[in-house]
Amino acid sequence: MTRLLGRFGLVIALAVLCAALSAARPSFLTLGNLVNLIRQISINGILAVGVTFVLLTGGVDLSLGSLVALTGVAAALFAHPGEYPVIAPVVAGVAAGALCGAASGAVITVGRVAPFIVTLGMMTAARGLALVASGGRPVSNLSPEFTALGGGQVLGVPVPVIVLAAVAAAAWVVLARFRMGRHVYAVGGNENAARASGIRVGRVKMFVYTLCGALAGLAGVVLAARITTGQPNAGVGYELDAIAAVVIGGTSLSGGVGGVGGTVLGALLMGVINNGLDLLNVPSYYQQIVKGVIIVGAVWMDRSQHKS
C-alpha cells in the first residue's frame, strides 16, 4: 500500500498523459493500440526488471544493450529450421547472458572493480563477441516456431507481453517475499551493515549480475524472435532506456530503495510517451525535445508528490 502510494505521482502523470492522448487521438484508447503499446515495452520491460536488481544493490549494468545483441545472435545460431528443438535457442540465449552477467559479477566482487567500469568493458567486449560470433552479419533463416516467441500470440495475448508479465511477477515475488530479496535491499542500503549481519555480500552481487545477464538474454531471445534475426548491431543504447525506466519508477541509483512495481510503471510511461508522440505525429526533432521534458516532468511530479 505504502509502496503504491509512494508511486502515486507517477500513476497520476501516466493517467494525465493517457487522458490527453485519448482526447487528441481516439485511436489511442483502442484495445488494439493498448496491446500494441505493451508489446512495444516488453523488451525494455524485461531488461528493466533485470537491472532493477542490480540498481537495488547500488550497482549498475551498462552491458545490457550489447548482451541483447550477443544473446540474440547466440539464440539465432541455434534457431535454424529443422536443427534443434525450439528450447535450444532459448537456453542458448539465456545461458550466454547469464554467463556474461556472471563474469561481470565475478570481476566486481573478486576484483573490487567499480561496476560502471566492469560493465562498460563488458558492453564493449560483448559487442565484439556478437560481431565475431555472427561474422558481422545478421543471422537469419530462423524457424517459425522460434519467431513465434516474438510475433505469436497465446489466447490473443502477444507472447512478449506474457513473458514480461511472468518475469515481472516472478521478480516481484523474489524481491518482496524471498530472503534473497531482503538481502538485495540490505546490500544496497548499507553494504557494511549487510556484511556485519552475516549476509554473504559477494553471493548477492553474483546473483544480481547473473540474473540481470540472464534476463538480458531472455530479452535478446524475444528481440531476435520478433525481428526474425540475430542482429549483432542490435540493442545500442538499450541499457540507458532500461535504467531510465527503473529510475523513473523510483528505484534509487545508490541502491536500497525501490522495486519492480515502479519499474513496470516507468517502462509504461516511456512506452506511452513514445507511442503517443508517434500517434500525434509530432515531427521527429521536436519529439525528442518533448520526450525529454515529459520524462523529467513526470519524475518531478512524482517527487513533489512524495514530500506531501
Binding site: 524471498f178 531482503r182 540490505a186 551493515a193 549476509i199
Partner: protein, 474 residues
C-alpha cells in the same frame, strides 16, 4: 567461552592493538574500558570476526557471537522489523521465502524486552539516533548468541532506557550468555560489570573484579595517572541575552551570554528537532533572535552567518565527511576565515587545524589522517573543533560528549565552561543527567517538543527532572 590470545592489529603501520589477551567466561559481564582510541572497538570487531587480526587467535568454542556496533549501521530505507531480522529472517512456507508476520512479531517482542514501542513497520530513516540504537540492540539480541559484544550501546540512550537494557543484560547473564560491554559512562560499569579489563594505547593494562575497583582507581588505570575530577567552576552568566527563541511549536526560552543552558528530555522528546529547526537544518516555524536582532534562518549557512554554530547529534549522518582528512573536516565550516578570495590559504588552514587538534587533544597521526579512521571519540572532538572554528556567539551542542572518554569528557566540560566564560552562549542537549547537572547554569526540560520546565541545577534533583520529562499519566 571466548579466548582471545595475543591479538595485535595495526593500521597503516600504526599499532591499534599490541598483544591483547582476554578470557571471557560464560555468564559474566565483562567491561572493556579505555580512553578514546585505546582499541576497544578494534578488539571487539576482531573477536566478532569482522576484522582480521595481524596476529593472535580468537577461540569462541564454536559459540555464536553477536555485536552491537558503536557506529550505528542501519538500513535506512528498510523497516525496523527488517533491520532487526536481517541476516536471519524467519523462514516462510516455501524454501527461500520469509515469513513477514513472524518477522514483525519477533521484532515487536525484542523491542518490548527493551521497553521500546517503536512500530516495527516504520522505516528506519527518520528515527532518532536513540531509536536506531534501540533497534541495533534488539537486532543483536535476536541472534540469541552465546556471547554479545556491546560497543557503547547506551551512548545515545537516556538513563531510563539504559536501565531497561541493564535488566536485559542481567537476564542474559542468568542464562549463561557472555557479555562484553564498553561505555564511557562510569556509573554504568559499576552497576552491571562483573569484571573489568582496561586497555591503554592498545595494550591490556589490567583485569579486575568490578568489586575491587572504584571510579577513581578505574579512571587512573585508563588514563595512566590520577585525574583530579572536581566539579567545574561556577557559571559566568552575564545579563545580555544572546539567543532568544520563540515558536517552533511551543518553545520559548533565552540563553544569555556566558550562560550554559542544558536541555534534557526522554528519548524522542524533540530536542534534536527543536535545535535543528533553530539552526535551519530542519523545517520549523519560529522566531530566533541573536543579540536582540531577528535572525532569518533558512539554512545552516544563515545560522553561521548570524553567529550560531551547532554540533549535530548524528556524527556519521550529518557530521563527518568520512573521506576527508582531519584538517579538512575541521575547517569545513570556517573556510572563509582561512581563505583569501577564492583561494584557501594552506598555511592558515594548517595552523587553524593544528590549534584545534592540540586544544582538544585530538588523538590522530596528524592533520592529514582520514577522519573515518579515527576512534569515535576523537571524531567527536573534531566535530567540536569544527564548530569552534566558526567563531560562533551561540553554540548549540547536541549530545556533545557522546562516546567521549572520561578524561576527555572532563576536558570537554571544562572547555564548554571556558567558552562560556569567554562570553559564548551555549545550548547543550544531553541525555546524561549527571552531565546536565554538572555543567549547566540552567536546565530546560523538554517533552513532546515543548519546554515543560525550567530548573536550577543546584537545587534540582533527578526525580524532579524525570517528573517533568515523563509524559503525563492518562
Amino acid at each position: 567461552m571466548i579466548q582471545a590470545k595475543d591479538i595485535s592489529k595495526s593500521f597503516a603501520g600504526v599499532p591499534a592493538l599490541a598483544g591483547v589477551s582476554l578470557e571471557i567466561r560464560a555468564g559474566e559481564v565483562h567491561a572493556l574500558m579505555g580512553e578514546n582510541g585505546a582499541g576497544k572497538s578494534t578488539f571487539m570487531k576482531i573477536v566478532a570476526g569482522q576484522l582480521a587480526a595481524d596476529s593472535g587467535t580468537v577461540d569462541s568454542g564454536g559459540g555464536r557471537v553477536a555485536m552491537i556496533h558503536q557506529e550505528l549501521m542501519p538500513f535506512l530505507d528498510l523497516t525496523v522489523a527488517e533491520n532487526i531480522t536481517m541476516g536471519r529472517e524467519p523462514a516462510g512456507r516455501f524454501p527461500g521465502t520469509v515469513d513477514r508476520g513472524a518477522m514483525r512479531r519477533e521484532a515487536r517482542e525484542l523491542l518490548a524486552r527493551l521497553g521500546s514501542t517503536i512500530d516495527p513497520d516504520r522505516k528506519m530513516r527518520g528515527l532518532s539516533v536513540a531509536a536506531m540504537q534501540m533497534v541495533e540492540i534488539a537486532k543483536a539480541l535476536g541472534w540469541r548468541a552465546d556471547a554479545i559484544l556491546m560497543d557503547e550501546p547506551t551512548s545515545a540512550l537516556a538513563g531510563h532506557e539504559a536501565d531497561l537494557l541493564f535488566e536485559v543484560i542481567r537476564d542474559l547473564r542468568r542464562r549463561g550468555v557472555a557479555v562484553v560491554y564498553t561505555s564511557h559512562k562510569m556509573d554504568e560499569i559499576f552497576r552491571i560489570a562483573d569484571r573489568v579489563t582496561v586497555l591503554r594505547d592498545g595494550r591490556s593494562v589490567a583485569t579486575h573484579a568490578a568489586s575491587e575497583l572504584d571510579e577513581r582507581r578505574l579512571i587512573a588505570l585508563m588514563v595512566g595517572r590520577e585525574l583530579t575530577s572536581q566539579r567545574p567552576a561556577g557559571g559566568a552568566a552575564r545579563t545580555e541575552t544572546a539567543l532568544s527563541v520563540k515558536g517552533f511549536g511551543g518553545a520559548e526560552f533565552e540563553v544569555r551570554k556566558g550562560e550554559i543552558v542544558g536541555m534534557i528530555g526522554l528519548m524522542g522528546a524533540g530536542r534534536t528537532e527543536l535545535a535543528s529547526a533553530i539552526y535551519g537544518l530542519a523545517p520549523g516555524q519560529g522566531e530566533v533572535r541573536v543579540n536582540g536582532r531577528v535572525a532569518t534562518i533558512g539554512s545552516p549557512a544563515d545560522a553561521i552567518r548570524h553567529g550560531i554554530a551547532m554540533v549535530t547529534e548524528d556524527r556519521k549522518g550529518s557530521g563527518i565527511v568520512p573521506r576527508m582528512s582531519v584538517r579538512e573536516n575541521l575547517t569545513l565550516a570556517s573556510l572563509g576565515a582561512v581563505s583569501r578570495g577564492p583561494w584557501v590559504s594552506r598555511a592558515a588552514e594548517a595552523e587553524a587545524a593544528r590549534g584545534q587538534m592540540s586544544g582538544l587533544a585530538i588523538k590522530a597521526r596528524g592533520p592529514e589522517q582520514e577522519i573515518a579512521t579515527l576512534s569515535g571519540g576523537n571524531q567527536q572532538k573534531v566535530m567540536l573543533g569544527r564548530a569552534l572554528l566558526a567563531r560562533p556567539e551561540v553554540l548549540i551542542l547536541d549530545e556533545p560528549t557522546r562516546g567521549i572518554d572520561v578524561g576527555a569528557k572532563t576536558e570537554v566540560h571544562e572547555l564548554i565552561r571556558r567558552l562560556a566564560r569567554e562570553g559564548k552562549a551555549i545550548l547543550m542537549i544531553s541525555s546524561e543527567m549527571p552531565e546536565i547537572l554538572a555543567v549547566s547554569d540552567r536546565i530546560l526540560v523538554v517533552r513532546e517538543g515543548r519546554v515543560t520546565a525550567e530548573l536550577d541545577p543546584r537545587t534540582a534533583t533527578q526525580e524532579q527532572i524525570l517528573a517533568h520529562a515523563m509524559p503525563e499519566a492518562g
